[in-house]
């Protein structure tokens, strides 16, 4: 079907606008794709369905992609799903390869986006029924699988890394358990503030942005080494050839991203986390990941754009949102009186191809806009710290306040975890591991309890549920064993180097 029979010029224009605003929102620490879509949701009522789809898909793609900019350049993940992008992106910027890093990330993003789009287009209905075969047991195991990354990204002490992750899970459990509306682990006196626990976004940007701010303040806001250098040190220029060696990585990460994104209720951040840990497990030089390898960027970014197509699969073929962003998209359909459900694709063929085309255009626009403006984006790192940090603080405060529609306590959360972000590294708690625990903790609990509710409290259900569960256990064990061996190897190498 020719594109312009389905898409009106208006919808293409709105898609363009959506991507543009989405990228900016995603690039501001504290603003997310989810928030961008929520803001524009009431506006879509006055538009035709196809036009509003263009706008919302544009916002979604732009919002997820924009997150890589601050993640790479400032070590602040713009959105939760770009957490793993900081692991290799920031070290590259420090080495003076900021622009290259951005280009690698953007290219990986569009590949991941197209990959998942293809899967969405050809296999949506089929994969959707696979997705609902994943009961709470399998979902719990997927989360555990994603958590094993904690072991493989631990720097220094493996045990300290795992401890940090568990601490993150523990903190995430503070608040109310929704099944029975009972509060737990809440310090007395804070019941009103912590009914829903700490919000993810203020915790995330607090740990990274405010934590880093305090650390820089302690060091006196010196000009950083990478600010003195040119962004492009001669020989290390970006070239598409770089992706030649990354074929397997790109495909694997896109598949993981699409697949994890597809599982209802698991979604976003878990996708890029799992892809990153697998990139590390399969890498020829695992010890190099985390020190500024394009390989890590490719994994994280192709996975988090892959999840967009993935999350749309259960949404469009079953009416079940795959993540929090698609949950808001459902609202957009309902406002127009359109039911998203198992018959959506067959009964709305025009809308369905409209969505596919909108995704296609959004990805292209995202790539073009970002790839060619990246030179200017990258200069963010050259802005003096005394200018950029106050801006970041205000953006973070506004974002935290607005994320739950105006809660002052979220601003205090931001500052509290900012303080933690400063203290943690000094006492050996590893921030990335902590955060991954925090992000996945509540989901782990939900599916753990759901599984037990189904089995009447019988724990063996996790092993006896069926073949998928067994496969997942094998993956989990393999991932753990690999991480332990790798950690030993790295340690030995370090010792050898010291001896020599």
């Amino acid at each position: 079907m020719p594109i312009f029979e389905v898409l009106t010029p208006m919808s293409v224009l709105l898609c363009f606008l959506g991507v543009f605003i989405g990228i900016i929102m995603g690039a501001i620490p504290g603003m997310t794709a989810t928030m961008a879509i929520a803001i524009f949701l009431p506006l879509t009522y006055s538009l035709d369905m196809i036009d509003s789809i263009g706008l919302l898909i544009g916002l979604y793609v732009g919002g997820i992609s924009g997150g890589l900019v601050p993640a790479m350049l400032l070590n602040i993940p713009g959105t939760p799903s770009s957490l793993c992008t900081t692991f290799d992106g920031y070290p590259m910027t420090k080495k003076g390869e900021g622009e290259k890093a951005l280009k690698v990330g953007i290219t990986a993003s569009i590949i991941g986006g197209f990959f998942s789009l293809t899967i969405l287009y050809f296999f949506a209905p089929m994969l959707a029924s696979v997705a609902i075969n994943f009961s709470s047991v399998e979902k719990f195991l997927i989360i555990v699988f994603a958590l094993t990354i904690i072991a493989s990204i631990s720097k220094g002490s493996l045990l300290a890394g795992i401890f940090s992750g568990i601490l993150g899970i523990f903190i995430s459990l503070i608040g109310t358990f929704t099944d029975n509306n009972e509060m737990r682990l809440v310090p007395p006196g804070l019941e009103d503030e912590l009914v829903y626990g700490f919000s993810l976004l203020p915790v995330l940007i607090g740990l990274f942005a405010i934590g880093q701010l305090l650390q820089e303040a302690e060091e006196g806001m010196e000009t950083a080494s990478h600010q003195k250098f040119d962004l492009q040190k001669g020989k290390n220029k970006f070239s598409f050839k770089l992706f030649k060696n990354q074929k397997v990585n790109v495909v694997r990460s896109s598949i993981i991203g699409t697949f994890v994104g597809m599982l209802p209720g698991v979604g976003g951040s878990a996708a890029s986390i799992t892809a990153y840990s697998q990139a590390k497990n399969f890498s020829k030089n695992p010890e190099k990941l985390g020190t500024g390898e394009p390989e890590g960027l490719v994994a994280s970014e192709s996975a988090n754009n892959g999840l967009i197509g993935g999350a749309l699969i259960p949404l469009l073929s079953l009416g079940i949102p795959g993540d929090s962003t698609t949950a808001i998209l459902i609202g957009a359909f309902l406002l127009q009186g359109i039911e998203v459900g198992p018959l959506f694709i067959t009964s709305n063929p025009d809308l369905w191809s409209g969505i596919i085309f909108a995704l296609l255009i959004a990805n292209l626009v995202m790539f073009t806009l970002m790839f060619f403006s990246i030179k200017y984006f990258a200069k963010i790192v050259l802005i003096p710290k005394y200018v950029i940090f106050p801006i970041i603080v205000v953006a973070c405060v506004v974002g935290s306040y607005a994320i739950n529609n105006g809660i002052m306590f979220d601003v205090w959360t931001l500052l509290l975890f900012g303080l933690f972000g400063y203290i943690f590294p000094k006492i050996g708690v590893q921030i990335p591991a902590f955060l991954i625990g925090f992000i996945l903790g509540t989901q782990a609990e939900k599916y753990f309890i759901d599984s037990l509710k189904g089995s009447g409290g019988d724990l063996t259900i996790f092993f006896t549920k069926g073949p998928i569960a067994i496969v997942l256990w094998i993956l989990i064990l393999a991932s753990l064993i690999y991480a332990v061996i790798d950690s030993r190897k790295t340690k030995k190498k370090a010792e050898n180097q010291q001896a020599a």
Partner: protein, 370 residues
């Protein structure tokens, strides 16, 4: 709203153009900021032309709702009524999906000028009765605003291949098959618990405790969780609604996920759906037909400004007569149901009284939850 969107478009295009012209020669940060400032002026001018003369003295009314989802019936009803009321009041209304506990919290802290009001359904008082919300949040501590809509599709569903077709038949089936059990997925403290309790008490009256002993509850959260619980085989019956679940009941849906309705709790059938009401099925509690209409209404701070309360009440009275509003509700199978504020207050207090006795005798979830 449409105007705003156009404004945004213009701003973005201008911004992009400006940035493109400047960026080659200028330092980035400045180029960006300048474009932003320029954009500001452009849209700032346009904003002023829509001269405002408000019938309430507020630029913006924040409507907090008791649900944190933008896909649920609370949001849709809040959005529809706000869209029409903001015109009538000549102000801006913004729906914030903050969730029940936070909505009450915000309302408790709100100014008395009407700048923050709440929109919710029967769970507002049921939650207090069930102990999910604080006693301080009971109806007496708020100023009750008008009732504006009903969701008549409050329903129970099961898999398409289940051996019973109505809620009444499910109890009969349980009696005939003493080895079988039924698990019902519901959310605690809400509308789904009260209608489950109605069913449970009726079965107890009609068939006795050896049947109710085999009815279990699977307590969970959102509609998606309930659907998934049915597909996982963890429950046999789920609470849902016609609006949210009808797409799984239609012809052509895969067998594995296909559902069927077992009955709705409203007083009358929903047009276009062959789903019997609880009353038709003969479900009674204390000899009276069990009817539960899920109704949506406004709550305001206790000492809200009298002028505001009147203005809102009057505005709503106009909105509900608007056929466009009715059509908007109907697209999502909701119906207009208007009760002005004074009537609504009496009505809701009565309704609460009526269901209080059911809640008092309701089964303890500790005993029936798996």
């Amino acid at each position: 709203m449409k105007k705003k969107l156009w404004m945004l478009l213009v701003v973005a295009v201008l911004g992009a153009l400006l940035a493109a012209c400047n960026s080659e020669t200028e330092d980035v940060s400045e180029g960006g900021q300048e474009a932003d400032q320029e954009a500001e002026e452009v849209s700032g001018d346009a904003e002023n032309t829509s001269g405002e003369e408000a019938s309430v003295d507020l630029n913006r009314i924040r409507v907090v709702i008791g649900s944190s989802s933008t896909g649920g019936d609370t949001y849709q009803n809040a959005d529809a009524v706000s869209r029409y009321t903001e015109e009538a009041l000549d102000t801006n209304m913004k729906v914030d999906a903050v969730g029940a506990l936070r909505a009450f919290d915000e309302l408790g802290k709100a100014n008395d000028d009407g700048s923050t009001i709440m929109f919710f359904h029967d769970m507002a008082y049921l939650g207090v009765e069930y102990g999910s919300f604080d006693q301080d949040d009971e109806l007496e501590n708020w100023r009750i605003g008008p009732v504006v809509a009903t969701n008549p599709g409050n329903a129970f569903l099961t898999s398409a291949d289940a051996p019973y077709d109505t809620m009444a038949e499910s109890a009969e089936w349980l009696e005939e098959n003493p080895d079988e059990t039924i698990t019902v997925a519901l959310e605690s403290g809400g509308v789904s618990e009260i209608v489950f309790d109605g069913y449970y008490l009726w079965v107890e009256e009609e068939y006795g405790t050896d049947v109710t002993d085999r009815i279990h509850a699977y307590v969970t959260g959102s509609q998606e969780d309930k659907n998934q619980a049915l597909w996982d085989g963890n429950t046999d019956i789920i609470h849902g609604s016609i609006g949210a679940n009808k797409q799984y009941t239609e012809d052509g849906v895969e067998d594995k996920i296909k559902m069927k309705f077992l009955g709705i709790t409203a007083g009358e059938r929903v047009e276009g759906f062959d789903v019997p009401t609880f009353a038709e099925q003969g479900i009674t509690v204390d000899g009276e037909e069990f009817v539960f209409d899920k109704e949506f209404f406004f709550l305001m701070p206790k000492n809200v400004d009298e002028n505001f309360a009147t203005a809102l009440n009057d505005a709503i009275a106009d909105v509900v007569k608007n056929p466009d509003y009715e059509e908007d509700l109907n697209t999502n199978t909701y119906i207009v149901n208007h009760k002005p504020a004074d009537e609504a207050e009496e009505y809701l207090l009565d309704k609460r009284e009526k269901f209080r006795s059911i809640i008092e005798r309701a089964p303890d979830l500790d005993e029936i939850a798996k």
